[in-house]
Amino acid sequence: MNILTLFVVIPVLTVAGILFTKDLKQSRLVSAIGMTAQLILSAILVYLYVTERQAGNMAPMLFTFDALWFPALNIHYAVGVDGISVAMIALTGVVVFAGIFASWKMEFLSREFFISLILLATGVFGFFISLDLFTMFLFYEIAVIPMYLLIGIWGSGPKEYSAMKLTLMLMGGSALLMVGILGIYFYSVPTGGQLTFNVLEIAKHKIPIEMQRFLFPFTFVGFGILGALFPFHTWSPDGHASAPTAVSMLHAGVLMKLGGYGAFRVAIFLMPEAAHEQAWIFIILTSISVVYGAFGAIFQKDLKYINAYSSVSHCGLVLFAVLMMNQTAFTGAVIQMISHGLMTALFFALIGMIYGRTHTRMINEMGGLMKVIPFLGVVYVIAGLASLGLPGFSGFVAEMTVFFGAYEHVDLFHRVATIVAVSSIVITAVYILRVVGTLLMGPITDKHFLHLEDANWYERLSTITLVIGITFIGMAPLWLSDMIHFSLAPIIAKLATIQLPGM
Amino acid sequence: MIDNIPLNAFLVISTLMFFIGIYGFLTRRNLITMLMSIELILNSVNINFVVFNKFLYPNQLHGHFFSLIVIAVAASEAAVAIAIIINIYRNFKSIDVENLDQMKF
């Protein structure tokens, strides 16, 4: 069997396995086994990919497999990966693995919880391996729908409201996306011949520019909603705040990346001319996202809200980089996606663990936790430092690559946008330190906190996995950036062909 | 027998009967009278079938059979409808259609 198909098969088998389990212990064991297999498989995929590339295989996508499943519309189950998808798959593997361990004590309807969670993961994996727009869209929907159940059933606070809001807004995005994808399909082969959903096939042709102008906003905004594009980000704070720990991790860590990845792989790759023309609008929006999210985070009191706004800021940077449309910025966008995925998953995991102990998420009700839960405290500080872009952690590499990529544009507009985006690093520092200060430092404010227990083994496993990911990318970014670099060749070549005034 | 009566005369009659039936359906509040209005409508349709058969396709009997079938359907419909009406009457002590608005919103 094709190795990529295994990425969908293993979660499905895991779900099937969970169906036969009886209680929490069994279902979490099955999930853990399944997702560990998935993580190992991701590692194998990275290894295979790198060896294949070193062996000189220059195909744009590797490990491709193609099967027609709906002939009437020429819809294929077409899979294949390049360096970017491999990186995203590895990220997903890590985050899902950590997510399972973060929800080790999910007592309430545990079986159903793990099923939904892994179903979500299936969708995400499927999305990243797909080359066929329709199949991609299908997996996207598979990933979005369980979210509603996960938040609505296992959430906290105004969970029904949040679940509804999140799902409806994402569905709105899907609707726009559907228009975009169908439009692309009907103009996929302008010279005549069989229409296709296959990304690689479509990329060989040029969609008429008038249609691109019309379709690009649909596609980009459709994906942008998932990527928390201002002003369509408001599902994110509420959704994340209400979601259970593992779901927040997966959602912010992986699902939001579908937006950035899709915007890159579909919107920009297939419609570069329109992207070039309309980028300025979205650059303004994403610059706002970056700064606005950071400012929004300063004022919040709920840990999850802080992190949700910070995600808005960081994901804004992803889209910002994607819109800059040059090799460096694209590389930065991908690294930023991975970096943010790991960091935010770590944050949400920690918040969940702290909440499980203190039963509050309000930072002004907590204080001095470093003394009682040093392990979680230290990891929180590490996550914070990574988030504010400290060298040695992934955030720094990502941000720098993005900024340098963005700065390659010589005109004043891009320069100003870049500097606005750069300024977010200070604001990020402000809110991160504010949280760390009130939460962990200072005297202990509540004497109940004196008896809190530090992390358990599964919590340690979950967080350490993510910390390793963050530091590894931060210390040795070269392999990752080179892996991405090579895979950007097709799109860079395509961008080079467009000749527009002002280029 | 009917040679000098134009087709349109029959059609006018059936049309008027049809709309009278509809008028009844729209204005009567009693379920049974509404049912009777429906019978009027069915009847007018039957006339059309028959007349078209007679005037336009006299070499076949399709319209004739359609009428037969409609009559059969009307009979079964009446049976079921009356069963329902009686049931409603049992539950609501009324067969005023205005009271039967449970299926709203």
Partner: protein
């Protein structure tokens, strides 16, 4: 003006008059009787068209069966002297307007359309022909509709019985046991 014509206009007049009376009379039982007259007049028209079998069916099933059924149910659900509630005037006016408009439109359409009466020899609709056609499965045979309609009738019968049967829902049983 032959006798036939006079007969036709008589039937036509009675159909229209009694139809109107059916939908306007405030006494339900009378409505039912007016409906009976309408159905009978219709049967008369069928006779005139030389469809004797159909006319007979119309008389037996409609006039004989359905009207009786309706009258029974009227007697079951209301008093003989009870006057039917009528819709508010506004509803009546609007309905009348819509209906009149519809009728005018339809009639206009009918007159605009040029029907071309056929001159081909007529098939006589006697019992023999009708019976043959009903059980024939050839072209112009009606065996399948015939069977279908019989099943429908059966189903309607069963359905009517089930519906009309006194239900034994748990609440009622509860009530009965309490009593």
């Amino acid at each position: 003006m032959t006798l036939n014509d006079i007969m036709f206009y008589l039937f036509a007049g009675s159909i229209l008059t009694f139809s109107l009376l059916t939908v306007t009379s405030r006494r339900i039982l009378r409505s039912a009787v007016y409906l009976l007259f309408v159905l009978v007049s219709t049967a008369g028209i069928y006779f005139m068209l030389n469809y004797n079998f159909l006319a007979a069916v119309q008389l037996t099933v409609y006039a004989g069966g359905i009207i009786v059924l309706i009258i029974f149910s009227i007697l079951l659900t209301s008093h003989v002297s009870e006057k039917a509630v009528v819709a508010p005037v506004k509803q009546q006016i609007f309905s009348a307007l819509a209906v009149a408009a519809g009728a005018v439109l339809t009639i206009l359409t009918i007159f605009k359309f040029a029907f071309s009466p056929s001159v081909s020899p007529a098939v006589e609709a006697n019992v023999k022909n009708v019976g043959r056609a009903l059980v024939s499965y050839n072209r112009d045979g009606f065996a399948l509709p015939f069977e279908v309609i019989s099943i429908l009738l059966l189903a309607a019968m069963v359905g009517a019985i089930v519906l009309a049967k006194k239900e034994k829902n748990p609440e009622n049983i509860e009530k009965q046991t309490k009593l």
